[in-house]
Structure formats: C-alpha cells, structure tokens
Amino acid sequence: MPEKIQRRWPIDMDSMILAGILVAILAFMGFALGDSFFNIRNISSMVSQIPEFAFLAMGMGVAMITGGIDLSNVAAMNLSGIVLALCLTSSRLAGGVGIWGAILIGAVSALLVGVACGVFNGLSISRFGIPPIIATLGSMLFFSGLGVGITNGEGITGLPEQFTRLINMTIVELPPPFLFMLAVFVVMSILAPRLTTGKTLYMYGSSRVAALFTGLRIGKSLALGYALSGLFAAVSALILVGRTNSIKVGYGDTYQLQAILVVVLGGVNPDGGKGKFGNILVAVLILQILQNAFTLFMFTPYAKKLIWGGMLLAFMVVRTLLEKWSDRRKIRARMAQMAEGA
C-alpha cells in the first residue's frame, strides 16, 4: 500500500443533525410549555405511547433500507391484534388451559400471524418481482379485508385484565414495552449492519443489479427482512391491544404515514442502502414530542395531518439540498485527491 490505511469511521451527519433537532425541540418545549410539558404524567403518557409506534417504524425501516416500503404493517398489526384478542376472549380456550395459557397461546399466534404476513410480502416481492409499493398496498387491503371478515368490522373488547395489567405495569416508573423497545433498538443497531442477512439487505438496497451480479442470497434475505417487519407489527399489536383493552380494524391507521415520515426523518434513504436504527429511534422521539405538543396546543386532527404531510415533504426537500451540497463537497475532495494521486 502506498498510503497508510486508517481504520476510521466517517462522521455521521444524520445522527448529529437529529440529535441537534431533538435538543432544540426539548429546549423549545421547556421554554414554551414549561411544566405542562415537563411533568411526570405527561412524560409517562408519552412513554407509554411510543413503543407501539416505534416497532412499526422499525419494520418500515427494514423495508426502506432494502429500497422497498411496507404499506401493510398497520394492517398486519390489526390482523395479529384480532387473533390475539380472539384467543384472549375465548372462554373455551381459557377454560382449557387457564388464563395464562390463553395469553401465551394468543401472543404466540399473534406473532406467527405477523411473521406470516411479512413472509407473504417478502415472497411476492422476491419470487414474483412485484414492486414493494404495489405488493404491500395489495396485501394491506388483503389483511384488512381478512380482519373485517373475521370480526364483521366490529371491535373486540373486554380482554382479561391479567393481560392489560401485564402490558401496563411499570418497572422503575417505566413500562416494560418501552424498556423492551429500547433493547430491540440497541440490538438492531448492532446486529443489522453486521449480520449476513442484514448486510445483504443493505447492499441489495444500494444496488439491486450489483447484488444479483455478486451472487447474494436475495430471495431468502428479502423474505427474512419483510418477515421481521411483520414480526415487529405483531409486537406492536400486543402493546396496542394491552394498552387500549380493545382492537378493531382501522386502529392506528394514522401510524402508516407517520412511520414513513419518521423513517425518512431518521435518515433512511428512501432509495435504499442506507439507514441507522439508532437514528430512527431519535426520530421517533422527536415525532412523539411534537405529537404531544400538538395535543397540548389543542390542534385539530386536520391540522395535525396537514403538518405531518408538510413535514415529510419539507424534510425531503431539505435532505435533497443537503445531499447536493455535500455531493459537491465530495466531488471537490475527490478531484483534489485525484490531482494529488495522478
């Protein structure tokens, strides 16, 4: 080697920007809302609302890193939530294996349903070459349709309180779903870029053609990736059902747009190949704080929708501008390097 090779990671611009935004928003909240924001009740209500959405966002993140999208994850969440609620409210099941047995069977079935939904998406994308946006749009309608078919479109309520108490208890003031979510974020941040499947998906997102010409196991990896998205949707269903003590097709529909928003805000390239789960977590926190602020400011739901949509577009514009700017810097640096090395 003519030059010495440095083992050094480049500084991650996205993480710095996100951390900056988070701090700025917290400061603004402290300034504008003071105690009505920073009080135990408000914060603990936020903390209990975050996990179900964060898992959906993580699933969306996996799909978007592959250069795809998962429009069906809220529908998958509803479907697995319905399966869970049916198990929990079935007196025959509870009579046979006891209430805790029913909870266990319900939870496992719900997770399996989520994984099945994801594998269904993954196969229709990798085996049949359907573009992800179309494949998951179709499966979204399909999953919701199934849910309506099972429930006649009616809500299921009156779940055993053993289950809701399990989800809503606190460990050192923090609910278990929140702690679990933090743990999963840490695991995903560390493992996703290091596991062979994860690496394959990042590379596939960066260039499908090169992935093919490199002989990567694309079909298997995509199926696993979307299965993970489905699994996260099911985890989200467990939390949602436990928190609201009910489930109905159409629950959490607003999460779909917000999940895309938050993943893009977290610096995942919508064209695929790039994205960090740690950054998605920061983006989830930012979104939740803003959400909370909108409630405290008493914005109407219409105003909220308007703001979310506007934010998504505005963020993409800012991102493109930033990228152009850094591309220009990179080109300059590259030219300089070439001039030096020629």
């Binding site: 440095q6 960066s206 070439m338 020629a342």
Partner: protein, 499 residues
C-alpha cells in the same frame, strides 16, 4: 500559424482544496483542428475540458475565444462562442424522436412559438445529420438507435447550436469497433467543414488515426504538443505516465493439456448463441472476442447462472455441473467480473471493504451469521494491499476511487472467493494505460496460480498481450480460433470483421 486560435488558454490553473488539478497549462485549438488530449486518469484532462466549457471557474490564467478575452467564462458564454461538449452519457432524450433531439434547443429555446413546426424541424435535423455524412431516419426514437447512431445525433445537436468546437469525452468507450470507424469518419467530416474537435480517448490507435495535434497532460502539467507523426505508441505511453511500461506479452509456447478446468460442450441459448464448445485449462488464459451482439457476453452470463442455457453441457474438472443462479456459480468455483463495473460490479456508496467481502459473507460469518468489523477490515486491507488499490482508507466509499482502482476492487471481490475459473468481461474498458498494465500483470499472476481465465475483450492488443489463444465469436457461433503465432492483432481484427 498566423490565424487566430479558436480557443486559447494561457497559464491555466485550477486547484481543488489546495491541489493543482491544472498548473499553468497553455492550450490552443485552431479552427478546424483535431486536438487529441492524452493523459492518464486524474491527469487533468477532464478539468481542462470543464474549464474551457465554462463548467468550472478557473483560478488563474486566461481563456480567449477567437482572440477575445472574457472576465469570466460561463457555460452559456462558451456555448455562444460555439463550444459544445458531448459527454459520455450523450444527454439525449431516449423517448423522443431524432429530430426533436437535434433541434430541442430551438423547440424549447428562444425561437419557440406556440406550436412545434414538425416539418421544418425534421428538415433541419436531416440537414445537420447530412453534414456529418450520416443517414438516420429523423422520425425514429433515440432509444431504438445503436450507440454509434446516438452519438451522431448528439453531434448533430451540437451542430444545430452552431458549434465551432466539438469536445468529445471518451466517445468510443461504449462503441463496437465498426462504429468507431464511422465516428472517426464524422470527425474528419467536421474538420473539412472547419469545425474543430477535442477528442479524448484511452485507445491510442484512435488518437493516431485522427489527431492533427496531440496534447499530453501529466499531473496537471502540460508535457507538450506533439505532431502525431513524431510519436509512436510506446513513446506516447512513456510521455503520458512518465515512466516506461514493462508488460511482457504472454508466453505463446506454453501447452495446456489434461482435464480442462471448465469445458463447454455444444452450449445453446437461443437467440444469443448456439453450438458453443470450448475448454479452458488451469493456468490458461483464453481470449474471447467478437462484435457486441455476437453472443460472447450472453455466454459468459450463462456460465455465471444469469442466463441459463437451453441445451448443451458445462463440465468443471470433467464433471457436469448446472449453474442456475450466481450463488451456485460461486459454489462451483466460477467468478465473473462483469462488463459494467459501475452498475453491475460495485455497491458504489458502500465502503471498499464491504465491496471486497460482498461475495464471501457466508464464509466470513461465524455460526450466528455475524460478520465482525475487524474481520471484514482485515480481508479488505489484505486484498487492497495485494492488488495495490490506491485509497486513503478501506472505509471510503467505492465511488471515491478512480476507474482503475474500482476495477481492482471488483477483481478483489472475485479473487477473494478463491475461484478456479475467472471470467473477465472487458476488464480494462475506460481505464488508463497505467492501471491497464497493472491489470494485465494481475491476469498473468492469476493464471500462474493455476486458475483458468476466460478474457472477453474488444481490444486486439489486450488479447495479444494476455491470451494464450483467442476465440472469435460471430453471430452466436465460434467462428475462429487463433493460437500461437496466429494470435496477432491484425489477424484477430480480421477474424472479428468476418475475414
């Protein structure tokens, strides 16, 4: 010469972040002159073109158009002065017909009215194409044209904007040899009409075929202006890289026998190729050439599992194998360095190490499927060292490398899989002669290590240098085999053209 130069650059200097890409370069183009710019990648050729066409502002020096100095050169000013650049991607609209591409400036430009005057526009486009001596139906859509025809359209578009100087940046890289001749003919036509050309190419033959003057740049400094009659290839190469290139041609007397590493028996894939039989022995480099569309790339893809054959048999070490997808090819010990390194070979935005290890992830992973960063870095550094990849860090993205180094990374990716059979499809396209020499050496080292190499190439010189024998494909069949003293450049070229 007493005439006023069309473009005159005096003491041109351009720096990027402290490094001089151009350092005091004098450069002139006379009306109607064909100037060839020669230099290795990163020597400053592209920067010079960008400065002359106003894309990059200059730091010091002057650029005069027809003897007039301008305080600052913008792309618009350069175009008004008749400077037109034809970039490699040609920047055409593939969905639009030829005539709209040729006169789009008029359609969307100042002279526009409410309606597009179709008949007038077609006549105008036909006239511009006729000036090039080219006949293309102005109603055809550009996406249906051959690469050579597209190039003609791009040049005609330049003429439609009153070009006095046409700058062509590596125009022949993507062209098959028949169309290269046609392009050189066009440049001569332009010269006879008083239109000057700056021609950049890595293929030295082309420079000698058309240049009135060869300007050589090295490390941002002009080496000199030369009359092509005073240079030969060796001397030109020496002036470009500043040292003598020492590539020994392959030993033709070597005889390979025994069980071939890979053997094709009557392989068929309609409509691309049929009845293809050949064998490559361990340690042997077999060259494969033919026009684009002769079926050579399609056959290479078949061996790699991307275009499974309809019939026939492939044998590895005497045993029949079926390769249905690339992962099976890797398992069978076959690697393919594909034709288009930017889109097929590399994950451009990913680090060099990731690219080097991409095909051996399964082998690097522990039993949980985890690949440790240290392991990945070690492998990346090891191969970058072996292949002499020039990069300040193996964590830099692959897109930050020059063409030659990018190709070395792709080669590293495949060598890391430890293949017995390595297929190289056009491995030196768009690579300067310094890096080319490195890659030729590498091919020899790989063969000497007992691997079978199938080298697909358009360049007869490359085949003469590297291949023990050369197969020529024509319309999907192997038309000729040239071995020993027969594998000369002249005979290869004749066989390719159907002689």
């Amino acid at each position: 010469m007493s005439a006023t130069p069309l473009v005159e650059a005096r003491r041109l200097t351009k720096t990027y972040g402290g490094f001089a890409a151009l350092d005091g370069v004098d450069f002139t183009v006379m009306p109607g002159e064909v100037v060839c710019l020669a230099g290795t990648n990163g020597s400053g050729k592209s920067t010079l073109i960008k400065c002359v066409s106003g894309v990059e502002p200059i730091d010091a020096g002057q650029i005069l158009f027809s003897g007039t100095e301008h305080p600052a050169i913008t792309p618009t000013l350069a175009m008004d002065e008749g400077v037109q650049v034809i970039y490699q991607d040609l920047s055409l609209f593939p969905d639009l017909p030829v005539w709209e591409n040729v006169c789009f400036q008029r359609i969307g430009g100042e002279k526009r009215g409410w309606f597009v005057k179709r008949r007038e526009g077609m006549a105008f486009a036909t006239m511009q194409l006729a000036r090039l001596g080219v006949k293309v139906d102005p109603k055809r859509r550009v996406e249906r044209l051959s690469m050579g025809e597209r190039q003609s359209v791009a040049i005609a578009r330049a003429l439609a904007q009153n070009a006095k100087l046409v700058i062509m940046d590596e125009p022949t890289t993507a062209l098959p040899s028949r169309e290269v001749d046609a392009l050189l003919g066009i440049v001569k036509n332009l010269r006879s009409q008083g239109i000057a050309t700056i021609f950049v190419s890595h293929k030295l033959d082309e420079l000698f075929a058309i240049a009135d003057k060869i300007t050589i740049i090295r490390d941002g400094v002009k080496v000199g202006d030369y009359n092509p009659a005073d240079l030969d290839k060796e001397k030109l190469g020496f002036l470009m890289i500043g040292k003598k290139l020492d590539v020994q041609p392959v030993d033709r007397s070597a005889v390979f026998s025994g069980t071939p590493a890979i053997e094709l028996d009557n392989l068929v894939k309609e409509p691309y190729y049929r009845g293809v039989s050949m064998a490559v022995h361990p340690g042997e480099v077999v060259g494969l050439t033919g026009l684009i569309g002769s079926g050579r790339t399609e056959m290479a893809l078949s061996l790699f599992g991307l275009n499974p054959p309809d019939g026939g048999e492939v044998r590895r070490n005497g045993r029949p194998v079926t390769v249905g997808k690339p992962s099976e090819a890797i398992a069978a010990g076959i690697g393919l360095v594909s034709e288009d390194r930017q889109s097929q070979g590399l994950f451009l935005s990913h680090p060099i190490t990731t690219n080097v290890t991409a095909a051996i992830l399964d082998r690097l992973a522990d039993r949980f499927g985890l690949v440790s960063l240290g392991r990945e870095l070690d492998v990346g550094e090891e191969w970058c060292g072996k292949l002499n990849v020039r990069a300040s860090s193996v964590l830099n993205p692959a897109q930050s490398l020059s063409g030659g180094n990018q190709q070395k990374v792709v080669l590293a990716k495949w060598l890391a899989t430890g293949p017995d059979v390595l297929i190289l499809d056009s491995p030196t396209v768009g690579i300067d002669i310094g890096s080319k020499a490195d890659i030729y050496e590498l091919i020899k080292t790989v063969a000497a290590a007992g691997k079978a190499v199938l080298l697909i190439s358009d360049e007869a010189e490359e085949l003469e240098m590297c291949a023990n024998r050369v197969l020529v494909m024509q319309s999907g069949e192997i038309a000729a085999e040239l071995a020993g003293a027969d594998a000369t450049q002249a005979k290869i070229l004749a066989a390719v053209r159907g002689g």
